[in-house]
Each structure stands twice: as C-alpha cells, then as structure tokens.
Symmetry: C2
Subunit: 418 residues, 2 copies
C-alpha cells in the first residue's frame, strides 16, 4: 500500500469512528460547536486572511481568471458572513431524532421512523473557501462526520478555516475527526477515497460537470449529483404579460451565472405576437442575446438563429434560447427532452394549465408564476444547502440538513411474536 | 452493436417511454389493471400451471434442490395467493401525488413536496414466480415502468404470468411496456441493462449475496441492496425472562430460513445465570444448535464453541451463536461490529436501556420487546414489499410503494421575483 493509500484509509477509518460518536451527540453539543467556531473565526480573522493571501499570490500559477480570483478572496465582510452562516445553521432544528411518521399496528406494535445521520460524507468541491465552513456545519449538525476535499487553489484558506473548526470541535467536546480536511493536493487521493465504501456512506461533488462525472463513475458509494441547470420559463397563452416580462427578466438576468437562472424561453403561439414585442426590447436593454427559432427570429430583429445545441446549453451568461410552441404539451415535451430536470417555470392564469404543467414536467422544482431563481435551499426555507440534487434517488432539489440523513425503524412491543 | 445489446436498448427505451405515460396515469387506471390482472390469473390458471410444469420438468437439469423446486411450484392455492396479492396492492393508497410536506414562505410562495415515481425499475430476482406479479404490481402502482429479469429456472412460469399482466395492461388502457419481461436467459443481458442509466433509474436485485454484489458493482444507476440479515436478540439485565424466552425462540425458530430470523443471542452477564438455563433446554427441544462463547458453553453443556466467524454468519437454519456481554454498551458494540445492520432486538423492562439500545444500534429496524421477525413490509403495514433495504441511502428497511418514489418541489407564486 502506498503512503497515499494509507493516509486515505486512516482518514476514512477515523471518520467512521467519529461518526459513531456524532450519531448520538446531542443538539446542544453540536450547536455549541457551531457558535464557538463562529466566534473563533472572528477572533482569528488575521490567520484566515494571511492563509488566503498565500492562495491569492499563487492564483496566477493556477491560471485562475479574474472572476475565480474574486470568488477566492476572503474580505472581512466575507469572513463575517462565514461566521454568521455557522450561527444560522446552529439556529436550525436538529434533524437527528426527528420522528418522520409512526403508527400502531393492530397487534399493538408501535412503529416509528426516526431520522438518523447517513454516517460519513466525502465532500469534493472547488474554489470558494466559505464552502468549507458551510459543508462542515451542515454535515456535523446532521450528525455526520465529513471528509473535505477542496480545490488546490484554495488550500491555505481552507487549512486556516479547518484549523478553526477543528479547535472548536475539541473545545466543544465533539470528536476531533468529525471534520477532516484532505491536506494533500494529489489528485489520486480522490480516487482512493471513492473506493472506501466501508468507511464513506455518500460522496457529494460540487463543481463542474467533469468533476461530477468523474466522481459518479468512480465512486463505490452513493453520490449526490448536482449537474447543469438548463432551466425554462414557459409563457402560457393565458399569462399575465407584465408578470411574464418581470419573471423572465429576473430568471435570466438577476444572477446569470448560477444553476437556477433561466436558459430558455418558451412562448405559446397564441400569445407570441403580444409577448415577443414586449420581451424583445427588454432583453435588448438588459444586454441579453437571444437565440431563437424561426418564429422568434421573425418577431425579434436582433435575435440570432438557434441551433439544436443551443436548446441544450447552460449559458451561465446573458444569453437565452427562445422558441414558440403550439401548445402547453409541446412546451412540456421540449422541457423534458432538452432540459436538465432542474427548475422550470410556467407563467399562466389558467389553473388547468398550471396543473398539467406541474404534472408533466419531470424536474426537481416546478414553479407556477414565480422565478426559477427561487430554487435554492435558503429560499425554500431549508436554511442552507450542500448542493441542489439533479438526481431523483434519495434527495431531489436543494439538499439541506434533512437530505444528509437516513432513518431507522423503531418498533416498540410488549412481547409480541409471530 | 450485437443483437442482444440492441434488444436491451429497445427494452430500456420502451420502458422509459411507458414511464412517461405512467407517471401521470390516475389511480383508477392502475387499480383497474391490478383487479383485471387478478381476474385473468384466476381465469387462466391452466396456462399458468402448464408453464410451471415445463419449469418443474427442467428443474433437475438446473440442479435445483428439493426446497427450491418446492418454491418454484405453482399450486392452485398459490395462484389464488398471487391474484389476491394484486388485489391487496390495488387497495393500498396511491403514493403518487401525495403531498409529503409544505409551507408558505414569508414572501408568499407556497412550497410543497409532491411524491412522483422514480421512473424505470430494473428488477432482477430468482426462483419464486409469485415475485413476478408482486414486483410488477408494486412498480406500476407507484407509477414506475418495470423491466423484470427472473431466474432461468422459472422462465416459463414467469412468461405465463407476464402474458396475463401484459394483456391486462392493454385491456386497462395502460402502456403495454409498463411491464416487460426479459425473455432471454443470456446472463450478458443483465450487464447490458446495468449500463443503461439513461433509461433505467434504479436497479433492485433480490437474491443471493453474489447477485447483489454483481449488480452493485456493475450498475451505472443507483441500486437498492438487500444483503444478509445477521440479526440479534439482546436479553438485557432487566428483561422479563418469560418474554425473553418467547421472543428468542420465535425470532430463531418460527421461520429460520428468512433474513429477519435471529442468528445471534446476546445475554447480559447479570442475568445469564438465570436465563441460559431457561433458553438452553428450550433450544434443545426445538432442535436449535447453539454455538457459544466460553461463558455460554459453561452454562449449556450441549453448546459448541463459537468461532469469530460464527458471529458473522447468517445461518438461515436452526443454529444460533450466543455470547454473554458485560453491559448493554458491549452488546451494542458487538451488534454494530458483527451484525449486518438489518434487524436487532432488545428485551428489557428498563426504559433507559431501551433508549440507549435504540440510539446506539445502527440498524434498519430496532425492536424493543418484540421479535425480529416483524421487520417486514406486511407486518409494518406497508402492504407489500419489493425487498428489505440494508442501505441507508434513499430507502432503509422494508421497501413498499413509497420507497419506489421520489418527489418534486412544486412552487406556487403570484409573480414573485428575486
């Protein structure tokens, strides 16, 4: 066994041991840790900044673009944000021990499902250092030990944050290996961890498509995947035009670089003549490039002709594909065929149309008369999220504390036998 | 592409297409199909028996043991049982569309989680033909299309049953490919299906360990696994001795060949001198062979000495390993180390002991003062089960209709934007 394999095995085994203790740790202990860590982050702001400066200095070596360097930077405001986020997680209800449902059988057996942690989470992520603290907070609060593998470009920032979290674990009386940071930047380490199904219960990659595909294909344990968001807004024949304009612009422009931004506009043929002349100039004004089908291009002189590939593209930019459809059913078929099952919206005043759209669209979140941008753990009231699952298995949509748990059946009898 | 690959691809694509239609099929249609299929099974009892006779005639070629031949046999009683099971599934509430939870956000958005089918299930199983009808019933009732791959030794029985189910689908107005039976016995077909993650959402193997391990390692889609049941009964210091005797005997002897039968008895040292002299003769009388540690062997003259391997063994027979432990915590550690996280019971009159045991034992079902034999979909009130998951991810314990579903977020707004 190589030194690297041995290191990964040790980290995995330690995580499993810590998870056994964490599974029955009370909420007070876990919340105490979160509040203490928030305080230590504020106290040690200088350490965090100096670790971050090392990363920023090395950023040109890694060829980071300006936007990536900006995401990497820890300012005093951002550090306060990290601390405050830990306190917010502390304020959330503890998912562990929650009774999901229960009933009494005719023979007197009481059967309940009680929420329990999954065990050990292997979290693989890129760039932004605040994710280190967020992920550790969500995992530990839900009773899971976590192995954090951040990007090499944020290593020193992550190490500084990790030391704070680890010191706080010790002071709070929680197992020190509840949170571990992979300290090597060797890419082979990820492969070794993905083989440790004995010690790791779930792998969660958060980053680009190639990272997620690598993890999904190599992992010996289940994976919560977060693929692209090719999100649609469908403007139904019965839509309120002003509401449609406002939602389409918000979904596309409010933050174009995120997964729940709209990438495709579908307009019912019966309203296209009214709506396209409204949204076209609004797009022009907002600097949005339109790639439309024939009917869209005829109505909007500034639109380019869309290729089939355009309708499958997550632009993450001020670009949108657009198409006129002859019916709601055509819109649903287009979304299920070209979309990524992430977030899709209908704008309609027709209750039957809303119902058929919600039933037919096979996506993690379906919005009626609301912006796609609301598909988010915070906006859904989950408090925080470790990702947005594009899977159907185990967890779908925003993954917060609850999605990091499993359950056990607890059966209480009075001597029953079969 | 070989003919076999092409065949598997066609079956997979047809299943996906059927699943899109099934996802929005109403409960009346699905229940109508189940009742019609039950009636056709009764009407065509002769076809079923003659298909079964072909399998029984070929059984010696496959080297089937007598018990396996018996499981394969379709008697009129068993055929009536298959029909009645379909009617029972029809009587269960439809899981599709169930609102799991919901709330209104401060901005007025209504957010609910609505249960939806997983999509397409690939179900791989062995021997007993009744499983063909049970699995099809559960999958279709939960809105999923299913690809059934039974054992070669039951092929003609399964084909006869499949024809009934397919004819009933057509008569009931459901997509004919909602249920497909893999008609080739080529083992390579399983490998091809396990690669079709585009068309199959979950694979469920039901059979021996080697089948499950093969499926888990080859599948490109999630797998619901059902591994061994190394189940324990722990007799606490405070146990009611008569209750303990009755539950231990039931858990071991009532049906020793199933996964929720007890395989190991743990007795607290403080009660061993009283309990072992009670359970020892009872085991002798029931023909149960005991493999004990030192302390058990000293108390029970007929016990053999257990090896470490004995404590990891699922005997599925009238054999039990037994051990005296010094504390409840030692019992929990033993169970988490040697057990299979399936079903474990404590017999106790001490509420604190019950609490610590339930919290500490990391198993799908933890029983207090009840037999391990109750961990079963029917006994838990799920109506029927497609298996008992030993995973923590997605579904744990008995898997019925609910466990064959996912959910979607449905968000209702009045024009909200961010």
């Amino acid at each position: 066994m190589t030194d690297l394999e041995q290191y990964c095995q040790t980290v995995g085994r330690q995580a499993r041991e810590a998870s056994r203790l964490l599974a029955t740790a009370g909420g007070d202990l876990k919340n105490g840790w979160l509040r203490l860590a928030a305080q230590l982050i504020r106290d040690r702001i200088d350490d965090l900044v100096s670790g971050n400066v090392r990363d920023l200095e090395q950023a040109p070596e890694y060829g980071l673009a300006e936007a990536a360097v900006d995401r990497l930077r820890l300012t005093p405001d951002r550090i306060e944000g990290i601390a405050a986020a830990l306190e917010q997680v502390a304020a959330l209800p503890d998912p562990v021990g929650e009774v999901i449902d229960g009933h009494v059988r005719p023979n007197g057996l009481s059967i309940i499902r009680r929420r329990v942690p999954l065990g050990v989470v292997f979290f693989i992520y890129e760039s932004r250092p605040n994710v280190t603290a967020d992920a550790a907070a969500l995992c530990v609060k839900s009773g899971n030990a976590v192995i954090l593998r951040g990007g090499k470009e944020a290593l020193h920032s992550n190490l500084a944050l990790y030391r704070v979290l680890a010191d706080a674990l010790q002071q709070a009386g929680l197992p020190e290996n509840a949170v571990q940071l992979v300290e090597t930047t060797d890419r082979a380490a990820v492969g070794h961890f993905l083989g440790l199904s004995e010690w790791i219960d779930v792998a969660i990659p958060r980053g680009g498509r190639s990272l997620i595909e690598r993890v999904a294909s190599e992992a010996a344990m289940p994976v919560i995947k977060h693929f692209d968001g090719v999100c649609h807004v469908y403007v139904d024949e019965s839509a309120d035009l002003e509401m449609a304009r406002s939602i389409v612009l918000n979904a596309k422009c409010q933050r174009p670089g995120v997964c729940n931004a709209a990438e495709c506009l579908l307009v019912h043929a019966g309203i296209a003549d009214q709506f396209l002349p409204i949204i076209g100039p609004a797009f022009d004004e907002a600097g949005v490039e339109v790639r439309g089908d024939d009917r869209v291009c005829r109505a909007l002189p500034t639109a380019r002709r869309a290729t089939d590939e355009d309708f499958r593209t997550e632009y993450l930019a001020l670009t949108i594909s657009a198409k006129v459809v002859d019916s709601l059913e055509d819109a649903v078929t287009h979304i299920n065929t070209y979309g990524s099952h992430h977030t899709d919206a209908i704008i309609t005043s027709d209750v039957s149309a809303a119902d058929r759209f919600v039933g037919g669209v096979d996506s993690a979140a379906v919005m009626v008369n609301a912006s796609t941008r609301f598909n988010d753990g915070g906006e859904f009231g989950l408090g925080a999220e470790i990702g947005i699952s594009t899977d159907k298995f185990h967890a779908r949509g925003p993954c917060g504390l609850r999605e990091l748990t499993s359950y056990k059946y607890v059966v209480q009898g009075q001597g029953q036998v079969r």
